[in-house]
Amino acid sequence: MAVPVDNLTKPTPASSTLRFAFGNVLAFFILLLIGVLAFSIRLFSVIKYESVIHEFDPYFNYRVTQFLTKNGIYDFWNWFDDRTWYPLGRVIGGTVYPGLTLTAGTIWKVLQSLNIPLSVETVCVFTAPVFSAFAAWATYLLTKEVKGTGAGLTAAVLLAMVPSYISRSVAGSYDNEAVAIFALIFTFYLYIKTLNTGSLFYATLNSIAYFYMVCSWGGYTFIINLIPMHVLLCIVTGRYSSRLYIAYAPLVVLGTLLAALVPVVGFNAVMTSEHFASFLVFIVIHVVALAYYIKGILSPKMFKVAATLVVSVGVVVCCAVVAVLVAVVASSPTKGWSGRSLSLLDPTYASKYIPIIASVSEHQPPTWPSYFMDLNVLAFLVPAGIIACFAPLSDASSFVILYLVMSVYFSGVMVRLMLVLAPAACIMSGIALSEAFDVFTRSIKFYISNLSEFLQTDAGDTLPGNNVSPQNEVLKNEKKEDTLKERPSRKNKKKEKENIEKPYVKSKTEKRPLVLPVEASFFALFLTVLLGGFYVVHSVWAAAEAYSAPSIVLTSHSHDGLHVFDDFREAYAWLSHNTEVDDKVASWWDYGYQTTAMANRTVIVDNNTWNNTHIATVGTAMSSPEKAGWEIFNSLDVKYVLVVFGGLVGYPSDDINKFLWMVRIGGGVFPHIKEPDYLRDGQYRIDSQATPTMLNSLMYKLSYFRFVETDGGKGYDRVRRTEIGKKYFKLTHFEEVFTTHHWMVRIYKLKPQKNRIRGKTKKSKSKTSPTTPRSGTVKKNPWH
């Protein structure tokens, strides 16, 4: 701490450049370490478990990546997948966000061309950690644009280990969000950079980053709504400048054109209401630009006249445009909004109208503990960050505030969008922490310089001319820091000179430095460090314990050590090696992606959930009695039925616990399935009090077939903590062909239709009777 004081007393140009260089190198190495931290904190899953793809959606992405690397980009765009949604199939090339797949595919290609023999799986597993490091660097850049290097570094550290983001980007979690968060932050950075510099170069880069974001994730609509809102905010608060125009107009034009190139978006980029805000603001900013231009060339008097003219014309035009938009939007059935977006605006929308969306846990609103779990101390630092952003308010800091506010709202709607909030919270907390450190260390420095001066004067070496007031000294220090901040890249030295009129520089110099008593500073510093320490401990714990389980392999700690439940892969491996290649496997949609990816078998429905009717058909089959279920499955060419059953080992997210959703979704399309039939007095139960419909449903039978023999006649279900209702029964249309070691996955084969022998004598009798149930089943079976 003595060094800066020395520098201050003898500010030679040589030593200051050396200090800048030293600071830059230090910042570089800190960033490098932050990258290493972000990468390595996400490796817990690989160390504790293994290098494997996690959960459900990542398996689909992995399969698509495999296809891409094997068949090339053109086959990928044209890929019609016949192994899923049988018999409909799915056009993969036109319905996926290709960003993640293309990224991993490109990385793999590059590695292959360098003769580095990494498998596609390995590349996919480590894509997310690598991109989290990128995201941390992007956060640094963004926050640096807002509040300087110190805040940038702090925000980057925080983002590198924010639990919310870790939960989506541990090694193996190969999902769109893994690259999308980086793309999101980087797009915001480039927007702010353009806003600060007014450079068309950055504006173009911004469009390209936006394009990458569109490729990667459906969450790009957040960007294309947030940036217009900020632009509008700037205009309303009188902060319009040519820089704002350059930051926004090219983004809309280029970005929309580029977005339309992505097959899954296509004309949605101009046709759905999610994008309308951007066009509206595009018009507004032109009107404003025109107004400013006219204001510049006209005299004030003339301008007043012109302004009234323009405003009246503008209002008319706007009204017309709005009217057209409203008409267009109103003409479409969902008002032009997709279901997920609607549930963003109206949190109750999904649970009211779309059971498929509501049935996914990550589409539920979060609880308060999840904020603490996912953000931890950031939740408390954010308000301080907001205050710091207001003093002084610049274009950039207003953007960050807006981003935070919007993402807080969205995270309150859907727990999954907590992920969007996390970077905002990190930036805010980074700013807050950095400001706090600034204040505390400044106070301490002030105290020390005071002290040394006091010592100097004490020695009797008084030089009156040399006595600089400490207040001035601090001011100098501030200035120095500012100049330091002003040179983010050596490359742009010349550009910097032009951009001296940076908005925040002016405001900063006006600031009165705040100095606290030294004891309080030390104490506060200690507390802040402690706070950071808690955050680190919590993050590491979250990364190691809470978020690194791959969910396809489960472990439990018992007194005799670690026990591994690897039943899912056991079942998938069995399917892939011991059934025919073209056999169809029916299961609830959760396991669709995994079955196609790991077992390479055709499935009826999968996690893409694009066809509600098809899912309802499977739900209906599972909720029907055995024979009716068999008929539905048989009409779908199904050969094997896979159910997940946790009753033996106590695995709670099994099919019996999801069963009510099957009933609901099935009943939504086929009204003969009624939810109350499965509930006894509104309670969902499988014990002896359960309804006969429940006990005779196919799902119940497939789950509990011969279960009672495992514990000597009791049939105690460890998940529901009760004895099962119907213990002894036989299956007439299904045959158990495989059950995994812990009974977690059970696979049944549809028995072939029985030959009609000995029917002659009974024929006359049964001729009348089969027709009635038959006609009944015809109604029930949607495929007849």
């Binding site: 293994e50 494997v52 360098l114 003769n115 580095i116 023999p117 050596r490 490359k491 010349k494 396809i552 392999v553 591994v564 690897d566 892969r569 056991e570 998938y572 491996a573 069995w574 090696h577 011991n578 790991m598 011969r706 023999e709 495992t710 045959e735 158990e736 062909v737 495989f738 059950t739 995994t740 070691h741 009974w743 084969k749």
Partner: protein, 524 residues
């Protein structure tokens, strides 16, 4: 000349009816052949062709091999062979057939005497074509000295270039150490290994049923020489023998079936027998094994083995009930297997066991000074006909396997076969990846293999690494012997890649320096 076509099964076995039918047809057809044979002995070869065509009408294709070998019995018609071989005769022959696992091991002890006028340097062994096809390995040794001072001298065994014997009998010739003079005799131990010669019957079984298999052979040893006295002992894995063909004198004593002694059998005598017995040993067959053995001069040898494993016994039919499999392991799924034992070299490190969807968590590794044992379980128990694929990989310190020979060449000394105990490998591919920059690879393998050369590219390779590919079919645990790959290698080649990396970084920094100090903007 006695022959009995295998009778099988107790009366209560449901499949016996069908089997009996086949045998009846067999018997009648065989009688026809005898008649033919007596009258048209000279025209044997032509007629047998015709008769064989007739036979095919009666018998299923799977029986063909048996029929085929039946002819060896009757067609004594001669070839150039008989004139040259009649000089030798076998005084005593003892054959022990071990049917304990699915790999059949036979030990044949012969005492050969030369009655001819000229010295004999080769002794011929004859195999019926069905056996010759499944013969995985054959070894012979000359026994010198009496019981106490017995010493074995390995002899060279080669497929003979003689024309095939009657009805396609295949010959192997043993080259004696010293030519056998007139009147001299020599004792020879022959051991050979047969694979895929146990035929499950019934072909499909349920989970609760044991696995029964058929073994076909001849009670008399097929030989181009006259045999004075011979016995055959067949050892079965348990006392549960459903049936066996009786060729008197034949006896069953616990797990041993004894045929013989038979006296003075002429050359090419053949008497088909059929043993139907219970064998619940794992019929673990690796359909294809690809081993990549990568040498890195930086200190480690990395082995990656890709397995396609199949249970080759009686196919499983009906459902698989886990509750029965878990609660009654002695009755349910007795023919299935869960564990496999992999014998690895000592001091192995970084062992992994996975398949294409991830790590397989059921394995135990025990490392020791003399050997390491890896006990693996496939993801699910393998019932008849079920398949599994997996990969085992491990590293070995280089000093254990790589040596420098006297002429300055380096050589790898590594075992050839499949490290899983009691497993048959249908096709093995050993790929030895030599370090980049090595030259003139040469291979020493104690048996015949197919050899190819490839080039592989790995980390930072530019010219590629030479790969020696050795392929062999029908590999049994007895093939687990060391083989050597010699190659020239200059230590300087090791430095190529570090130097390359260093220079790349150097140029990167230089480029960065240049970029910073250059002004490439358009405006001044």
């Amino acid at each position: 000349m006695s022959y009995v076509v295998g009778a099988c099964g107790g009366p209560n076995k449901p499949f016996c009816k069908k089997e009996g039918f086949v045998h009846c047809s067999l018997r009648t057809s065989s009688l026809t052949i005898i008649v033919l044979h007596i009258f048209f002995r000279r025209l044997g070869s032509i007629l047998s062709e015709k008769a064989r065509l007739n036979m095919e009408v009666f018998v299923a294709r799977s029986r063909l091999t048996l029929i085929f070998s039946l002819f060896a019995l009757f067609s004594l018609s001669s070839s150039s062979l008989s004139s040259s071989t009649t000089e030798l005769q076998i005084l005593t022959a003892e054959r022990r057939i071990d049917l304990a696992s699915h790999i059949i091991r036979v030990v044949l002890t012969l005492k050969v005497q030369n009655d001819g006028t000229s010295a004999a340097s080769d002794v011929l062994l004859a195999f019926p074509p069905a056996q010759a096809k499944h013969l995985a390995l054959i070894q012979a040794a000359e026994v010198a000295g009496k019981k106490r001072k017995k010493s074995l001298h390995p002899l060279d065994v080669k497929p003979s270039n003689h024309a095939d014997g009657p009805n396609g009998a295949k010959f192997y010739s043993i080259s004696l150490r010293n030519p056998l003079g007139t009147g001299g005799s020599v004792s020879i131990d022959v051991s050979y290994v047969l694979t895929q010669s146990l035929e499950p019957f019934p072909v499909e079984i349920r989970q609760s049923e044991p696995q029964l298999v058929l073994y076909r052979d001849s009670a008399l040893i097929l030989s181009p020489y006259e045999i004075k006295q011979q016995t055959t002992v067949i050892r079965t894995p348990s006392t549960k023998v459903e049936s066996f063909t009786r060729v008197e004198p034949s006896t069953q004593l616990r797990t041993e079936l004894k045929y013989g002694p038979y006296e003075d059998q002429p050359s090419f005598s053949y008497s088909p027998i059929l043993v139907h017995f219970e064998n619940n040993n794992p019929f673990a067959v690796v359909e294809e094994l690809v081993r990549e053995i990568e040498i890195s001069h930086w200190g480690s040898l990395q082995v990656t083995e890709h397995y396609t494993l199949v249970h080759n016994g009686a196919r499983h039919k009906g459902g698989f009930s886990r509750v029965e499999y878990q609660s009654r392991p002695t009755i349910s799924g007795v023919a299935s297997f869960k564990h496999l034992l992999v014998k690895l070299p000592p001091r192995v490190h970084s062992v992994y066991y996975r398949d294409n969807i991830g790590n397989i968590s059921t394995s135990h590794l025990r490392t020791g000074y003399s050997k390491s044992e890896l006990e693996i379980e496939p993801r699910y128990p393998l019932l008849g006909g079920w398949k599994a694929t997996f990969v085992i990989g491990y590293g070995i310190p280089l000093e254990d396997v790589l040596f420098e020979s006297d002429d300055g060449k380096r050589y790898l000394n590594f075992s050839f076969g499949c490290p899983i105990a009691e497993t048959l490998v249908n096709k093995i591919t050993n790929k030895v990846v030599l370090p980049e920059g090595s030259k003139n690879p040469s291979v020493v393998v104690p048996f015949s293999v197919e050899r190819r050369a490839e080039t592989s590219y790995s980390y930072l390779d530019i010219v590629g690494r030479p790969v020696v590919v050795l392929e062999k079919e029908n590999v049994v645990p007895e093939h687990n012997v060391l083989f050597q790959v010699y190659y020239d290698f200059h230590p300087m080649s090791m430095l190529a890649e570090p130097l390359m990396l260093t220079s790349v970084f150097f140029f990167l920094f230089v480029a960065a320096l240049a970029y910073i100090h250059m002004d490439i903007s358009i405006r001044k």
